[in-house]
Amino acid sequence: MPAFVLQLYIAMCLQSDPECPALLDSRIHLEVANVISSRSSVSFRSQKMSFVSIRSRPSSLRFKICCSATGEAQAKKETVDKVCMIVKKQLAVPDGTPVTAESKFSELGADSLDTVEIVMGLEEEFNITVDETSAQDIATVQDAADLIEKLVTEKTA
């Protein structure tokens, strides 16, 4: 699986130098998500391949990959902050519980009705339309912020 090997190689390069700009060919659109050390799962999405997920044994490595194929930085902090604020309000998260980019909606207690209300709140705030297929893939605040940025960019393009 050469494409798979390529992705792993890229991941390893990025691991050693997380601040590097995108070094990917523009034909291959890859987005690499955050990796959480306790789960050690890495996900890749590529136009050529279906979604591949690899789980390795838990390691003490904790690395963040911050590039996307277009070379832009990950969703801006202000987008993430706005999403956090909308999520906190919708789920009535108590003040003591932190809501960050890595927070998973399921872990915050969001059910399906909460999720659609959050999506609607995001659509109103950012003046975008989120279709059901994209909405289904949102698991964390970061996913939501990345999707918003993508939709806003597509809209203004």
């Binding site: 979604f51 997920s53 789980r55 519980t97 872990e107 009705l113 609607m120 709140g121 279709d131 059901e132």
Partner: protein, 363 residues
């Protein structure tokens, strides 16, 4: 004879070499099944009997626990439920997390979970959510055990997800219960977790608190997600509380349908089908013109619905596949869904609540 430790580790090594990488767009969120089989768990010896936790090895038959074996005694105390007599019958078992606060009982339920389920529970930062995860998995496992004659240890059930992420039981290859496949679906709110069971029919269930308030305005939610005919029927209701309740009823019915179809929210967007509550033939579903777009051919209308009010506090919708409808014409009334509901505290107490004030059929 339970397999020896050596046989287990040989089977594990063989299974590991057969594992292929699966390409699954939802695999990251597939917490019930690890990609690689776990190494064999250590054997515990207790009172001269060797207990072994069942290993998640593919292709390895799951040995049955015999009642009377220490540890097996507990699940054999689950009373046998009345059998599901037809594919139109649905049995629902529910529990109320707020009423289950006995720590030793909760520890007992946690013992039933698989390692990956426990890991998922541990990933919940809030204690209440962790308790909900433990209770919903324990409810599912004990219910499945009941409907397999109480002969299968609740701990031994394995699950897989279909390609859209809907959980299903992974039946062992030599098991005779696989001939009459049990289908299940779970729904939870903070105050109630329900598990619906049907035989030979796909099932979806959704519960919602009657008093739940939405942060968004009801009609704007409906305009965004529901169909025009549903928006119209909601707009006709002048009382805002009644309108909110009608919205929740429609929501649970639509959610139950999507869960029964098992293709995820995007497989059946709410705007592609309409639910009508007040027809003379009970609850009906129809596809909208939106659904004639390519990609929605799988949306079918041969499904039976039932909507009930539980304990005057929750709406519960159940949706099951109606295979007999393909013969009946659309003018024929569908036979009602036979619904039986139990409130349960697994291993402690079961109460049949259907037929009482606690379960009021709405449609």
């Amino acid at each position: 004879m339970p397999p020896t430790a050596r046989a287990i580790s040989q089977a594990w090594r063989a299974a590991r070499s057969r594992i292929r990488m699966r390409h699954h767009h939802l695999l990251l969120r597939c917490r019930a099944m690890p990609l690689l089989p776990l190494p064999p768990r250590t054997l515990r010896v207790s009172g001269g009997l060797v207990h072994h936790r069942l290993i998640r090895c593919h292709g390895m038959p799951i040995p049955r626990r015999t009642p009377g074996v220490s540890g097996g005694r507990l699940f054999a105390s689950l009373p046998l439920p009345p059998p599901l007599q037809s594919p139109r019958e649905v049995h629902v078992w529910y529990l109320c997390p707020d009423e289950l606060n006995n720590q030793s009982q909760l520890n007992m339920y946690e013992e039933l979970l698989s390692p990956s389920e426990r890991e998922y529970a541990d990933s919940m930062k809030a204690t209440m959510l962790r308790k909900d995860v433990v209770l919903s998995r324990a409810l599912l496992r004990t219910t499945l055990s009941r409907y397999t004659g109480c002969k299968i240890d609740p701990r031994s059930f394995e699950f897989k997800k279909n390609k859209f992420g809907k959980p299903e039981v992974l039946w062992p290859l030599d098991d005779s219960t696989a001939e009459q496949p049990l289908h299940f679906n779970i729904s939870h709110t903070t105050s109630l977790i329900a598990c619906g069971i049907a035989i030979n029919a796909h099932i979806g269930i959704d519960v919602e608190e009657k008093k739940r308030n939405t942060t968004k305005n009801i009609l704007s939610l409906a305009r965004r997600y529901f169909t025009p005919s549903e928006v119209d029927s909601l707009a006709e209701i002048s009382d805002s509380d009644a309108q909110r309740k009608e919205f929740l009823k429609l929501w649970t019915l639509k959610e139950a349908y999507v869960k029964a179809l098992g293709m995820g929210f995007s497989g059946a967007p709410f705007s592609t089908f309409s639910i009508m509550l007040e027809t003379s033939k009970g609850i009906r579903i129809s596809k909208t013109s939106n659904a004639s777009r390519p990609g929605y051919d799988h949306l079918s209308e041969n499904w039976l619905f039932t909507l009930a009010e539980l304990n005057s506090s929750h709406y519960m919708s159940v949706c099951i596949e109606d295979s007999s409808r393909s013969q009946a014409g659309p003018e024929d009334s569908p036979a009602p869904v036979g619904l039986k509901v139990w409130k349960t505290v697994p291993f402690v107490e079961d109460t049949l609540v259907s037929g009482t004030e606690a379960v009021k059929l709405i449609a």
